[in-house]
Point group: C2
Chain length 394, copies 2
Amino acid sequence: MTWLDPPEGTGFGLDDLPLGVFSTRGGPRRTGVAVGDAVLDLGGLTEDPVHLSGSLNAFLALGPRAWRELREQVTDWLTQPSCRRGVEPHLLPRDGVRMHLPVEVADYVDFYSSRHHAANLGRILRPGTPPLSANWLHLPIGYHGRAGTVAVSGTPVVRPCGQRRADDGPVFGPTQRLDIEAEVGFVVGTPTELGVRVPVEDLAEHVFGVCLVDDWSARDLQAWEYVPLGPFLGKSFLTSVSPWVVPLAALEAARVAPPPRDVPLQPYLRDDAAPWGLDLALEVRLNGEVVSRPPFAPMYWTPAQQLAHLTVNGARLRTGDLFASGTVSGPDRDQSGSLIELTEGGTEPIRLADGSVRTFLEDGDVVTIGATAPGAGGGRLSLGEVSGRVEPAR
Amino acid sequence: MTWLDPPEGTGFGLDDLPLGVFSTRGGPRRTGVAVGDAVLDLGGLTEDPVHLSGSLNAFLALGPRAWRELREQVTDWLTQPSCRRGVEPHLLPRDGVRMHLPVEVADYVDFYSSRHHAANLGRILRPGTPPLSANWLHLPIGYHGRAGTVAVSGTPVVRPCGQRRADDGPVFGPTQRLDIEAEVGFVVGTPTELGVRVPVEDLAEHVFGVCLVDDWSARDLQAWEYVPLGPFLGKSFLTSVSPWVVPLAALEAARVAPPPRDVPLQPYLRDDAAPWGLDLALEVRLNGEVVSRPPFAPMYWTPAQQLAHLTVNGARLRTGDLFASGTVSGPDRDQSGSLIELTEGGTEPIRLADGSVRTFLEDGDVVTIGATAPGAGGGRLSLGEVSGRVEPAR
């Protein structure tokens, strides 16, 4: 029935249709849609300035109606035989384009919404105290990260330097505990005015879509600096995001209820009526080998709750705001989204297929995080990948 | 010798020349220079698109040579009799213009660099533990704030809602401990690439100038949320900045050495050769009455050290980055930059001239922070003011 039939295993089917920003050699940045092993060049096809602006922001600012209309239009273009002649010349091989940061990030907030991750870190970093802080079950803990060092997948991960604790006081040098954090990010399109709260039911009015996030972390820098104001340089050297932003509209079949609540929630956080838990399956590969399969469904706090919390004090949203879930870790060790959990704080190294062992990342290591979700048609759709290679400290 | 002779007491003399963004009724936003009780309309005078872009960012991005050249040019315009005829029509009464946010803020970082403030807060909030955390003397503690809720002086301070701790678990409602934080902010013009460190001696290559900051704080929200990832909603509802950015070049006479160091510093933080302590005198007024006079000279960490620390891990700078000093508090109670210190955690109210008492802010309260500095000519120059009026929760 459709003229375009993406081959199996290429990742992005017709129920996916993620947006990204790409260029071909020497050409300007423009918006594209990933489908199969191709990119549909929206900039070239539509000649709409919105798709030629070099980031998704201008399109995201148009709001949910425009998002829906484009999705319907692209579906028509890629399926209606009558559209083939006009559209096909704008399908480019995906392996021939260069991907860029899809969104000019306004504010970047990182949450801490996996109960397993929070409890693991509490146990590893603060032994002898309760693994969850007293507030954790009552609100989605989060903090602001550095928007300016959010970069697209493939950006080199230069090992950062900084202070870390040693026996005789702090020492300075390259981090010795370079880690990953496998996360899911949510990209805001529709802004709000100062003072406006976004209710839990309005997630899809404001959030356009989802990307994958690797919030690279220098655990030794972080451990020394983070009391009392939270993580700073241990995180701000690089946060990588996947180049393709999958519309929330593609994830309807992935919606699930979050885990049962241990304590009653404040009304502004109750989302039982139409919960936004998401049954995403993440996969973390270290030098090509799968080392973890973190499930997103057990996340305690949903993106709808995160957004409601983020704005309950009147903080405004801007187009391009990015908020991330926090490290995604499941109940089992091999479902952990960070090496500090996979190796129990670096005390139990993991062994790779080549016989080498790892606690934290070594120079030259490549980490790739991918994810899939149930698709509309019963199959699975791809959220793409975010990847980075560790380079030596400068 | 000069044709323009700003009357005494109007704040901005010829050695000051701060930049801001203003509009007149119905007109577009453009860049101006404050001098005496006037604004020199740079947009109108030069017709340079850089000064008609609606924020200072385009000009700040031009770098220190352009900043110097403009300062020399403006000085000539305002002093050379031959310039008078061309320039005078572009001098507008300052009380007839509307001021806007001077800078499109990229990332906002808030430090914690007053030893007196950090020790006071440690004592008040964490009694029984050492007042300074173990890292405090070794590095300038900082964290990222919300860039999107930085707003210009005069923006209403709507009392934020959120969760706070109560005897039977958290409750939700308007903050009951709304506070100020009197700070000094530093505005970055020249960006860097990812991976580049800014040495302490390069402050003036990257930072264009200084503004005043009121980092409004909801102490009860903050106390409940901030463990373990730092302040979030307790701060992100509003951060106010003064409209006039005073060039660093105007503050040469204000430079002083910071206090002696208790512990040796890592080499990247040593700035003994040409330190950037600043002898600024802040003044906090509550409903018109001076309640505190925080001195900036005793700040333990200088802006040069803050910038060197911020970038030592390779975090890049963008034009429009704003980093603030943290609350400025001197050794004496009446030199405190926050009400939580002035009132000893709300236990010792201050009495105002009208007979009323305050622990934290009440609806209708107006807080204004001003500052002056030694000027080049032996007098004092103004850093302007940042002000806000508290409105009831919505």
